[in-house]
């Protein structure tokens, strides 16, 4: 099947779902209280997008996501590389890490609100706890799976410890770290949104929570769609970054030579 037909089928599916939904609503089969009409959702999105105050919410959520993401992945990579290199430290800390990771992160949200208030930082903290462990485990695994021959070779060629980190450990762990960076984005958004949802005065999560409080299904759905687009855009940015960083991998390079 060629790409054009696939695209056509995808488009057809979308039209069928949305059209069926809209038709269901207008004929009264679907209750708009639970499933608002696509047209209404679309109008709600448009009215938000053209409203300048809406961007305040987006900016706040984006700031929380980015801060949580950067801090979480930074700490995760640093801790992962450290524990990947030091087996004894990893053994000592292992039960603590497992214990912390076992806590459902959502229950921490009220505690963070208690500690850090209703503002930005309680959401950032929640996002950090979600993102940290994903990057941490991946970075640790990546460092541990460094090819011992490549490592021995670099050492014989005269690499000192810092040079080993830069030329061997980090690049070897890079594909692991990058794949965890992809997964982490979603979690950073989840952290920020849940934080806002549970207690905030602004942000996309707050918008959704407010719409829900007013039994405004249109607002909830519109918020969900905006969130999805939000994550997709970030994901796309990471795609570009990843292809820039890892150009030595067979698959990406073959696309280039082809």
């Amino acid at each position: 099947m060629n790409v054009a037909t696939e695209r056509l089928i995808q488009l057809g599916l979308l039209v069928a779902i949305l059209g069926g939904w809209q038709l269901g609503v207008s004929t009264g089969v679907i209750d708009v209280f639970f499933f608002p009409a696509p047209v209404d959702i679309f109008n709600q999105i448009v009215s938000w997008v053209i409203d300048p105050s809406f961007y305040r919410h987006v900016t706040i959520t984006l700031t929380e996501t980015v801060l949580g993401y950067v801090i979480g992945t930074g700490l995760g990579v640093a801790a992962g590389v450290w524990l990947g290199l030091s087996r004894s430290a990893a053994r000592i800390l292992d039960p603590f890490i497992k214990g912390l990771n076992a806590i459902p992160r959502v229950v921490l949200a009220p505690i963070f609100v208690l500690w850090l208030g209703l503002g930005l930082w309680s959401k950032v903290a929640l996002a950090v706890t979600l993102v940290f462990f994903i990057t941490f485990f991946n970075a640790m695994q990546g460092v541990r799976e460094v090819n011992p021959v490549v490592l021995a070779n670099a050492r014989i060629l005269g690499a000192k410890r810092s040079e080993l980190l830069r030329h061997v450990y980090f690049p070897a762990a890079a594909s692991w770290i990058l794949s965890s960076l992809r997964t982490s984005v979603g979690f950073a958004v989840v952290g920020a949104i849940i934080g806002e949802y549970l207690g905030a005065s602004a942000g996309l999560g707050y918008l959704i929570a407010q719409a829900e409080g007013n039994f405004d299904a249109v607002g909830v759905f519109a918020g969900i769609i905006i969130l999805a687009v939000f994550v997709l855009v970030i994901d796309r940015v990471l795609d570009v970054v990843e292809n820039r960083l890892i150009k030595w991998r067979p698959n990406t390079a073959e696309e280039k030579t082809a």
């Binding site: 000192k160 390079a253 030579t257």
Partner: protein, 276 residues
């Protein structure tokens, strides 16, 4: 028998007395209770090509790793050019059996690594790496990543990488065993050519007796493991420069092969018996 056929080195070919570059004195390598090699004595002169053959699993590689400083001997001592080996050595070149190139670096970046770690300036590093890549026949492949090169090309890059720093000793651990037979011959000749230009002490481990004789000045035979030791040493008095494929037809090559095989064969059989 054919043992008597080994002729003394033709009038000693007016050799100057060469100092010992690598000396291994009663070295024992053990891992826990397992003793891989025991009481090994070997001396490699400067500019000498020593090939070590032995059955699989006799601890050949551990000897190389002791010279490189990757492993610490549990007994005895190793010294390079008079200096005792402790920790990783930086004046050696190590040619690994496996792919040892950094897959995230291009051919030229791989070749220049040794110079980079030694703190050589960028321009000089580039120039010398280009020269070495040309030397191993990879001009124009500078920007390729290892996965874009064939097995033989990767070996060439590895050779350039190991030799660019001008190491005192070159260690090789079955460097060509993963290559197909034609590529292997090409690489062996290439190696001989590079070595002939600038003779250094070489210790090469192999299980391929033909390769050992074709390349080496001397072939040492290791006993079957565990507790392996050097049981015999043969001087290879074949003229240089050699062509690896042609030299195998030389009658003296065949005599040497017979003699060394007579010594090696028993060990190979022993190692098989122990495994079953």
């Amino acid at each position: 028998m054919a043992l008597a056929m080994v002729k003394p080195v033709a009038a000693a070919t007016v050799e100057q007395p060469r100092n010992a570059m690598v000396s291994i004195d009663s070295v024992t390598m053990s891992f826990g209770t397992f003793v891989a090699v025991e009481n090994v004595d070997l001396t490699v002169a400067d500019g000498e090509f020593l090939a070590i053959v032995g059955p699989t699993g006799c601890g050949k590689s551990t000897i190389l790793n002791a010279i490189a400083g990757l492993l610490k001997p549990s007994g005895g001592r190793v010294s390079i050019d008079g200096n005792p080996v402790s920790g990783i050595q930086n004046d050696i070149g190590y040619l690994f059996q496996q792919d040892a190139l950094l897959p995230w670096k291009t051919a030229i970046e791989n070749v220049e690594l040794g110079l980079l770690f030694k703190g050589v300036a960028t321009a000089e590093r580039r120039e010398r790496s280009m020269m070495w890549l040309a030397k191993v026949g990879l001009k124009g492949f500078e920007q390729r990543y290892p996965h874009q090169l064939s097995g033989g090309q990767r070996k060439r890059v590895q050779m350039a990488q190991a030799l660019i720093t001008g190491p005192k000793v070159i260690l090789m651990d079955e460097p060509f065993s993963a290559l197909d037979i034609h590529t292997r011959h090409l690489m062996q000749n290439e190696l001989l050519r590079l070595w002939q230009e600038e003779r250094r002490a070489v210790v090469m481990i192999t299980h391929d007796l033909e390769e050992a004789i074709a390349l080496g000045d001397r072939v040492a035979v290791l006993a079957a493991g565990p507790r392996s030791r050097v049981i015999d040493s043969f001087d290879v008095d074949l003229a240089r420069p050699r062509d690896v494929a042609e030299i195998k037809l030389d009658p003296r090559f065949m005599d040497l092969y017979r003699n060394i095989w007579a010594s090696l064969r028993g060990e190979v059989e022993k190692s098989y018996e122990r495994r079953d």
